[in-house]
C-alpha cells in the first residue's frame, strides 16, 4: 500500500476530531529534565546506504532542534547495535525491515511520575517506501532527514502540529527535501524549553497547561436522584477540559455516546421514558487526552 499523494511520517491523524481550532503545535506536558539529550544511531539498513551517509542524514534532523533559541539540543552519542524499542535509558534511532501500517517511522517515549521524559526510541520502517539521503535523487520515496526531524521532535516532547507546513505535521509528501524547521516547530520547542529557563543541565518544568483534564463533578440531577422526563443535564467541568462528550442511556445497557465535542457543560434531554433509571457519564477532553468521569444515574419521575 503506497498512498499516491501523501505519506504518513509517524501517524496519520491529528489530535482527535476537534471542531474548535487548536494552536498549531501540540504538547502534552512532557519534557526532558535537562537541556542536552544524547541519542545513538544504529546505521544498519537495507537500502544500501553507507553508514556515514545515513548517520549524517539522521544527525541533520536532530541538529535542527538545537539551532533555535530554546534551551534544548540533542547530542550525538555514537552508534549502537540496538534495534528494539525499550525503556533502557538509551535513546536509539534505528532502521527495521518491516512495516507498521503506513508509518515511515514512529517514536515511543517514556516519562516518569514527574512528567519528565526518561527515554525515547525511533524506528524507521524500511518496508513502506524507499529512503534516500541528501536532497537529490529521490524517486517514489522519502528523504530521511525530514522524518528524522519529525521523530526527534517527538523525542523532545512535541506531538503533531495542526500546521500543515510544519515539520511536526502528521504527514508528508514524497521526496520532500526540507531539512530545516518551520516557524511553528520553533515555537513549539521554544514553548517547551524557554530560553530563559536556565542554563544547560537545569531541569525544565513540564508545562502546566497541557495536562489531561480533571474529573467532571457536581452533576445535576444529583447522582442517584430523580428527574423530570425533560431534564437538563449539567456538571462542573474538569480542570483544563475544553470539550465534553456525554454518554447517556437507560441503565439496562452500557450508556451509548450521545453527544460529542460539546463546549458547554449542559445537555438537554426531553421526553425520556417515565420511571426509568438512566446512566450517564461525561468524558472531559483536551489536546492532552481524555478523562472519563464517574457513572452517574438518575431516575425519571412518572410525569
Amino acid at each position: 500500500m503506497r498512498p499516491r499523494a501523501r505519506l504518513v511520517i509517524a501517524t496519520l491523524l491529528l489530535a482527535s476530531c476537534c471542531l474548535v481550532p487548536l494552536s498549531a503545535y501540540v504538547t502534552i506536558g512532557h519534557v526532558w529534565g535537562k537541556a542536552s539529550v544524547p541519542y545513538k544511531i544504529n546505521p544498519a539498513n537495507d537500502f544500501m546506504i553507507a553508514s556515514a551517509d545515513l548517520i549524517a542524514a539522521v544527525q541533520a534532523g536532530a541538529t535542527q532542534w538545537g539551532t533555535t533559541a530554546a534551551q534544548f539540543a540533542f547530542s550525538y552519542g555514537g552508534t549502537t547495535s540496538t534495534a528494539v524499542l525499550a525503556n533502557d535509558g538509551q535513546n536509539n534511532v534505528f532502521f527495521r525491515n518491516d512495516t507498521n501500517g503506513s508509518y515511515i517511522a514512529e517514536t515511543w517515549w517514556w516519562y516518569d511520575a514527574t512528567n519528565h521524559l526518561v527515554d525515547f526510541d525511533t524506528v524507521f520502517h524500511e518496508g513502506l517506501v524507499p529512503m534516500f539521503v541528501g536532497s537529490t535523487g529521490c524517486s517514489g520515496g522519502i528523504y530521511i532527514t525530514l522524518p528524522a526531524m519529525h521523530e526527534f521532535g517527538h523525542g523532545l516532547g512535541l506531538w503533531h502540529s495542526d500546521d500543515s507546513t510544519a515539520v511536526m505535521t502528521a504527514s508528508q509528501g514524497y521526496c520532500d527535501p526540507r531539512s530545516t524547521l518551520g516557524a511553528d516547530d520553533i515555537a513549539g520547542v521554544t514553548f517547551l524549553y524557554p530560553p530563559s529557563s536556565g542554563s544547560s543541565g537545569t531541569p525544565s518544568t513540564p508545562p502546566a497547561t497541557t495536562s489531561v483534564p480533571g474529573q467532571p463533578s457536581a452533576p445535576s440531577p444529583k447522582n442517584s436522584g430523580s428527574a423530570a422526563r425533560h431534564v437538563n443535564l449539567s456538571w462542573t467541568a474538569g480542570a483544563g477540559a475544553t470539550l465534553h462528550d456525554v454518554y447517556v442511556g437507560p441503565c439496562t445497557a452500557t450508556a451509548p455516546l450521545y453527544a460529542i465535542n460539546l463546549t458547554s457543560t449542559t445537555l438537554s434531554l426531553s421526553t425520556l421514558n417515565a420511571l426509568t433509571a438512566y446512566c450517564w457519564r461525561v468524558v472531559e477532553r483536551n489536546s492532552a487526552g481524555d478523562t472519563a468521569g464517574p457513572l452517574w444515574t438518575f431516575t425519571t419521575r412518572k410525569n
Binding site: M1, A10, G101, A113, P256, A259
Partner: protein, 135 residues
C-alpha cells in the same frame, strides 16, 4: 424526542464526517485502510488493562489491552470480542506513550481497523484506525 435524537445523530454524523475527511487528507484513503485491515468491527470498549509486552521484534513496552465487545463484524473473522494491544499506559510509575496511538475509554463505541501483530491484534495506523461510531 425523535427530533432531538435526529439532531444529535446528525450533529455527530457531521463531526464524524469532518474527522474522516481530515483523516483522508492525512495520507491513507479509507479504501486503502479498509483493504489493509485484517479485521474491521464495530463495538464498544468493555474493559482496559495495562500490561508489559515484548513483541516478536523484541520491543519491550507498556501497552493497554482494550477489549471491544463486538456488535458487528464488517471484515474478517467474527468473534464476540476483539482484544487490541495498544502501545501506551502506566506501570509502576512510568508511563509510555506513542504519539500516534490513542487509548480509547471504556464505553466508547468504535469502528476498529485491526491487523495482526503476532498473537495479538493492533490498531491499523494508530488513531486513524479507531473511529468513533454512532451506529
Amino acid at each position: 424526542v425523535k427530533q432531538l435524537v435526529l439532531a444529535a445523530v446528525v450533529a455527530i454524523a457531521l463531526t464524524t464526517a469532518s474527522q474522516a475527511h481530515a483523516q483522508l487528507a492525512g495520507g491513507v484513503t479509507l479504501e486503502a485502510q479498509t483493504a489493509a485491515a485484517a479485521r474491521i468491527v464495530v463495538g464498544t470498549v468493555s474493559s482496559t488493562n495495562v500490561v508489559s509486552v515484548t513483541n516478536a521484534a523484541g520491543d519491550t513496552y507498556i501497552a493497554t489491552e482494550v477489549v471491544v465487545a463486538v456488535s458487528r463484524t464488517i471484515k474478517g473473522t467474527a468473534t464476540s470480542t476483539l482484544t487490541l494491544t495498544i502501545p501506551g499506559g502506566t506501570l509502576s510509575g512510568v508511563t509510555m506513550r506513542a504519539p500516534h496511538e490513542r487509548i480509547p475509554l471504556v464505553g466508547e463505541r468504535l469502528r476498529v481497523f485491526a491487523i495482526a501483530d503476532g498473537p495479538r491484534w493492533k490498531v491499523l495506523n494508530g488513531r486513524q484506525g479507531l473511529m468513533r461510531s454512532v451506529d
